[in-house]
Symmetry: C2
Subunit: 274 residues, 2 copies
């Protein structure tokens, strides 16, 4: 999916919501556990209930990987089921030396190899240029690079002050623009980091930002939108637990739909600002 196509979907649905499919076998409603593939059945119901109100789905790969080969099969089926007009994100946080990152790119972008082809994959920047570039060689695919994450641990290294006066995450934003552009690269910026958004927009005014941390982690949608939006929206705001676990009963999909619609309504108001 191109940047223009993504913005088109945002305008059609009046939403920049990404639903995080962090589907934990230990948390899904009990009545699903007897089915052949409970994880996929859960995701299928969530997608059916929410796709009208969101523009993107983001399975966090850890939740599938934790189940071994059968988890990967659930992931593959889930990706197949995500509507083609929704932007798919493999939240994998991968990254390795060049020849190895090429293999991770095959895993998430090359259907003939792995059976899966996501629109995008999240990548960790620590190992630098050659750990990121192999992902950028795939046409119409995106790298979503970790910049400033939503967790407490972001204080440990991401906020480290460099001798140049920059913070480490600012150097990541700046340096990585030598490798890609706003047509093939986005950045992860946690919703809990709104005070940094103004500065981030000075470095990457045109790029899309993937914003996790709204909902269970406590970030504010209004604040994020106020400081992060640009002329093509430029935001994909993710909510996982607050939507998919809105109810732990048989009405989980219905409750997820209500939550999603609520967020979409808020987003519709914010989109009037652009």
């Amino acid at each position: 999916m191109t940047k223009a196509e993504l913005f088109e979907q945002i305008k059609i649905k009046k939403s920049y919501l990404c639903v995080g499919l962090d589907t934990d076998i230990k948390k899904i409603p009990e009545h699903l556990l007897g089915l052949e593939d409970p994880i996929f059945e859960f995701n299928k119901a969530i997608i059916d209930a929410t796709s009208e109100f969101c523009v993107s789905y983001k399975p966090n790969i850890a939740f599938y990987e934790a189940l071994g080969p059968r988890g990967w099969e659930s992931l593959r089926k889930t990706l197949d089921y995500i509507p083609k007009d929704c932007f798919s994100i493999a939240d994998a946080k991968r990254g390795d030396i060049g020849n190895t990152s090429s293999l991770y790119a095959r895993a998430f972008f090359d259907e003939t190899s792995s059976g899966m082809s996501f629109d995008s994959v999240t990548v960790a920047p620590y190992m630098g240029a050659d750990s990121v570039q192999p992902f950028l060689e795939f046409k119409n695919k995106w790298v979503i690079l970790l910049a400033l994450t939503s967790n407490v641990g972001s204080q440990d290294f991401e906020f480290s002050e460099l001798s140049s006066g920059q913070k480490l995450f600012e150097k990541v934003l700046e340096k990585s623009q030598e490798w890609g552009n706003d047509e093939n690269m986005m950045y992860v910026v946690g919703a809990t980091q709104t005070e940094s958004l103004v500065g981030i927009r000075k470095i990457v005014p045109e790029h899309f930002l993937l914003i996790p941390g709204v909902g269970a982690q406590g970030g504010s949608l209004e604040e994020v939108s106020k400081y992060g939006m640009n002329s093509t929206c430029g935001l994909l705001v993710n909510s996982s637990r607050a939507i998919i676990y809105a109810s732990s009963g048989e009405d989980f999909a219905e409750k997820a739909r209500i939550e999603t619609q609520k967020v979409q309504a808020e987003m519709e108001i914010c989109l009037d600002w652009i």
Copy 2:
């Protein structure tokens, strides 16, 4: 496996070699491709041929993940086949927010969940404390944290100078000692970074270091051993491509055995230094 048990194996085999199972379906000998699980058959033959001369095996997860669910099945079978007296490393370079890193820990350490239980997993430090700590909650398991990697991209961020005068990788070494110790944490230091080893040993004198980059990437075993060894050896030196692709013919396992024995003989000499 405990640190004492690992050192015991090193003394028995007179080797601190780790064989990297970076098994690429596009590179293994043609005569294997007709078998039901070529990747596993290749690994099985390599393990049979080399286990006398090495103390560790390190499948790089990207190579398995690239093949989708069947790749994970090959990985699981490979881990089952690795002899129990060899230290197993899932070279996965994972890391995510706390609740998600717990799931990655399940994937590599919890056999009841994923079908696999490695001795250790490599972890990327960018996201800080809570991205690493969930892995440390598993008894007798190890985190191998990326410090200074062997690739060109290590120049981009790992070598960044902080306002404190430290390099970023030095801060990673120092800070992470608040989370673990030399009984449950090792560090990745590339063999191409020998000039940094003396300084690294000042920060982490007792920890084991996992050293990739000897062989195809050009690092020197003698140099690494001279500057990196401590009183319990403290080194696992990895070689992947130079061993597993020593021949592309039907004699691949035999040639791998010869290469492995060669490295072991060099290591036996270096071990006399301690």
